[in-house]
Amino acid sequence: MIRYELLKEIMPIISDQLVVCNIGLPSQELHMLDDQPSNFYMLGTMGLASSIGLGLALAQSAKVIAIDGDGSVLTNLGTLPTIGNNPANNFILLIIDNGSYGSTGDQPTYAGMKTSLAGMAKAAGCDNVIECAAEDTADALKAALAGDEMTIIVSKCESGNVKVPVIEFDAPVIRHRFMQEVARRNA
């Protein structure tokens, strides 16, 4: 199962949730599959999806799912101790770990070699870390949404991409409609 197939499978689960999505193909795939005001698409800034997601979760009470990748978590490894030491029980970090930098031509990452992101998250102080196969991600996500504990899910999937169009929205439009949706949910 590649990331696109995984996103398609979890779409019914995340469609009505606040989602902060990683730069590049993940955001483009999410946008093509199910564009929602509750989606925040990152058009730039590799690595910060988990930080934006945590900031958002700490600032308000609705659940937040940050969809990140193994390459981008490796770019911003300092995020794991920050998440571990500032637990937000409305925060779910879904790391889609395909062992590669998907948006740039599937160059391998260290997460596909000896490095375990789940192990690093645990060592960083994240208490509830689940590593699962792509096929089991929907169930893990459902359980995390039903629970009341910050959850890090590392979903191991295959490397590979599908053709997707770029996102035409201007960045302030994405931000503005997302903020309106966040405000509506906290009203």
Partner: protein, 166 residues
């Protein structure tokens, strides 16, 4: 009122409730004051670009953010400032210790100090240089300006400012 208390009071009076920090010796007092404030959620970050991500998320969650960091961080955060904070129109007051200015004991700090204002100007970031203790009187208006304009704004605080403020 001490300068550190004054800074935190101005932040709180402007509705800032979420502050991330990366430490600098010059900023130790204000960071301690932030940490003690019951009105502010203080979240130390490991790197300043990470901190800007946290601030962007908090802003979208309805909390006004600010970042406190050293001027060396301008070198770390250019991409994040351009592609996240500026591109998405996110307000971000940046209280920055301006190391490498007059009175600096560490030569290496001068190497980033000489680039600091040029980099901020290149990024079209409104920049204020606090050199004398009374410059703090502009802080309140600078905060209002950042949130009004939805832009990052830099406040460079040099050693003379901190010395004069004691």
């Amino acid at each position: 009122m001490s300068i550190n208390k004054r800074i935190v009071t101005d932040l709180v009076n402007n509705g800032v409730e979420f502050v991330t920090t990366v430490p600098c010796k010059q900023l130790a007092g204000v960071i301690a004051e932030i940490d003690q404030s019951e009105h502010i959620y203080h979240i130390p970050s490991n790197k300043e670009d990470e901190g800007m991500g946290l601030c962007a998320g908090a802003y979208m969650g309805g909390k006004r953010p600010a970042i406190i960091m050293q001027n060396t961080a301008i070198g770390v955060t250019i991409n994040t400032l351009a592609t996240l904070i500026q591109f998405y129109n996110i307000p971000l007051p940046m209280l920055i210790s301006y190391r490498g200015e007059l009175g600096e004991p560490v030569a290496c700090q001068v190497e980033m100090a000489v680039h600091t204002k040029a980099l901020l100007a290149q990024m079209s970031i409104p920049t204020y240089h606090f050199h004398s203790a009374e410059d703090i009187n502009e802080f309140d208006a600078i905060l209002k300006y950042s949130f009004m304009a939805k832009k990052p704004v830099a406040v460079l605080t040099d050693a003379s400012f901190w010395k004069g403020a004691k």
